[in-house]
């Protein structure tokens, strides 16, 4: 193998979080919270995925946390929801079974995809850098961090929002108990030079190799960010590299 690995890093210049149950997400759909852009039309959330609705709430919390906030017009948006589009797909299947093709909403497809969240965030907050979805499965946290880091370092936008959303336990999950609660995290990445004292997201080589794909959960990451510990947040990947936040 090439010995070309080194440490890559960028700054975490701000973040916002949100968590909600399904009924609370239904409320957020009607009113995502204070700080809503004046240009935002409520219609945009009418058919949006639950992950998208919660992510917007996290974004609203995160926007004001970025020093010197705005303009975000040229920022990139990377979204890494876990299993996006499930409720919208369930509705489409149900309506298709009941009413055939005419029962399926024209806005079903645009709102259940892996990129639906990033597209909606880009639209609502008028961010015109690149936007895309990444991951979508068990490894969404690592996938999102890698994509955001790579984009920030190579594409060099003023900043990159990396947005995560997942259910602690999926609603309806087999053998699950208790009321499902979802979490979302909007992480603002920027160049280290912009925020030299900010926490850093790093990717570096490691001798320890995880025997299986790294699938960290969102509560661990958000708890670390909300309650900074002396030990960094770490995620050992299965290919000789390690993600960390410190």
């Amino acid at each position: 193998m090439d010995d070309s690995r080194h440490t890559d890093e960028c700054a975490i210049v701000g973040f916002g979080t949100a968590q909600a149950t399904l009924p609370e997400i239904a409320q957020l759909r009607k009113d995502p919270g204070p700080g809503r852009p004046s240009t935002m039309e409520f219609q945009v959330l009418k058919h949006a995925d639950e992950h998208t609705v919660l992510a917007l709430a996290a974004m609203l919390n995160g926007l004001s946390a970025v020093p010197g906030s705005a303009p975000f017009a040229e920022w990139a948006v990377v979204a890494a929801p876990r299993w996006p589009g499930r409720f919208g797909t369930a509705t489409a299947i149900e309506r298709y079974r009941a009413d055939g093709a005419r029962g399926v909403s024209p806005l079903a497809i645009p709102n259940v995809c892996l990129h639906s969240l990033s597209g909606t965030v880009s639209l609502v907050f008028q961010m015109r850098g690149p936007n895309f979805g990444v991951g979508g499965g068990l490894a969404s946290i690592a996938d999102g961090l890698l994509a955001g880091l790579g984009l920030q370092l190579e594409h060099q936008p003023p900043g990159t929002w990396v947005i995560f959303s997942e259910w602690a336990v999926e609603p309806g999950q087999v053998d699950a108990h208790g009321e499902p609660r979802a979490r979302a995290l909007a992480l603002a990445l920027g160049p280290v030079t912009q925020a030299p004292s900010a926490r850093r997201l790093r990717l570096r080589p490691t001798r320890s190799v995880s025997p299986k794909p790294a699938c960290p959960r969102l509560p661990g990451l958000t708890d670390f960010l909300l309650n900074p510990a002396t030990t960094p947040w770490m995620c050992t990947l299965d290919w000789g590299m390690e993600l960390s936040i410190a």
Binding site: P106, N131, L153, H155, M241
Partner: protein
Amino acid sequence: MSREEQIWITGLGTANPLGNDYATVAENLLKGKSGVGPISDLDLDEYACKIAGRFDPPPAPRGWTAEAFARLDKIHQLILWCTTGALVDAGYWDERANLRVGIVLGLGAEWPQAWERDGHRGGDWVLAPRGDEESLVRTVQTQLGLMGPATTVAAACASGNVALAQGRNWLKRGWVDICLAGACDMWVTPLALASFGRLRVLSRRNDEPTRASRPFDRGRDGFVMGEGGAMFVLERADRARRRSARAYAELAGHGGTSDAFNLVIPNADPGPAAKAVRMALGNARVNPDQIDYVNAHGTSTPVGDSCEAKVLHTVLGSSSSRVPVSSTKSMTGHLLSAAAAMEALVCMIALERQAVPPTINLDDPDPDCALCHVANESRAHPIRVAVSNSFGFGGNNTCVVFRKVA
């Protein structure tokens, strides 16, 4: 960029409406053959659109028995066929376990498609998940015995370009030795046909399937869905040169922006999309007057095609009257999240064959889409730089630049 920092494409695997191997696809593409036909395996009585571009089922790839391969979902078969084919084509099949091999798979709706397939079989997976479901890209990574980062990316119809860009990023950062990047999609399903149909973006020219996809033509009435994929092996030029590898092209640059205008309607203002194209050209250090071919996004929708024509006029300026443009969705249909990967393959064929593939069914060019069209028949043309535009839902604008390797 120095020669050593260049990223080359040295292998590919594909299955698409024009064929399941490079030579067949190239031949059909340059002949102007349509891969669109009637959809025969779904009951579509109440649907407005009953046609699509689809591929012939590929045989079991290396490492699989026909029986085991046949048990997999078709999208799983497609991804395995394309990734295995790319590794074999690049000469990395036997060496793959000794390298850090990344995979970036463009696929816009893996989970909704899986839940829908299950639903049509009578299942309720969408309502009662297990909570440990693994993504296809990870499953394929394990099946191929690869060690490296593996991820799915989605940017609607631009997913393939985003995958190529991300693979290029990984190589430039030194995170991988080589990278599989591209996209696969199979969404000709009852729900997708219904939803797109109700959005009124699909062609209704069911009586003439091969003439239904007609980008830039005055008679266009919507896009035709397609299925298929293409995966590519990306590696640094110095590595490829050391092993005397054949290069299909240099992946010279990419650019991406968002419209921030509407989730499904293209922006009439060409500014954001033109910026994406200019970013890609700047990234590749190419001036607009150095472009030899543009593979347009050109979906055959009334609004989208005229918007793209404005974008190209904005970027090309006076060169727009001489730079050949075609939309090969006229032959393949619109492969949705695999479209950009398909069209990357088209650009590589154009670079290798030194010929511009045509926009077929372009009988009456729309004056709102006045460009240097290559209509209905391919044209021999010296091509050193090819550009591929892909735009998508979510306001995604992307562009990738390919350069012929000397």
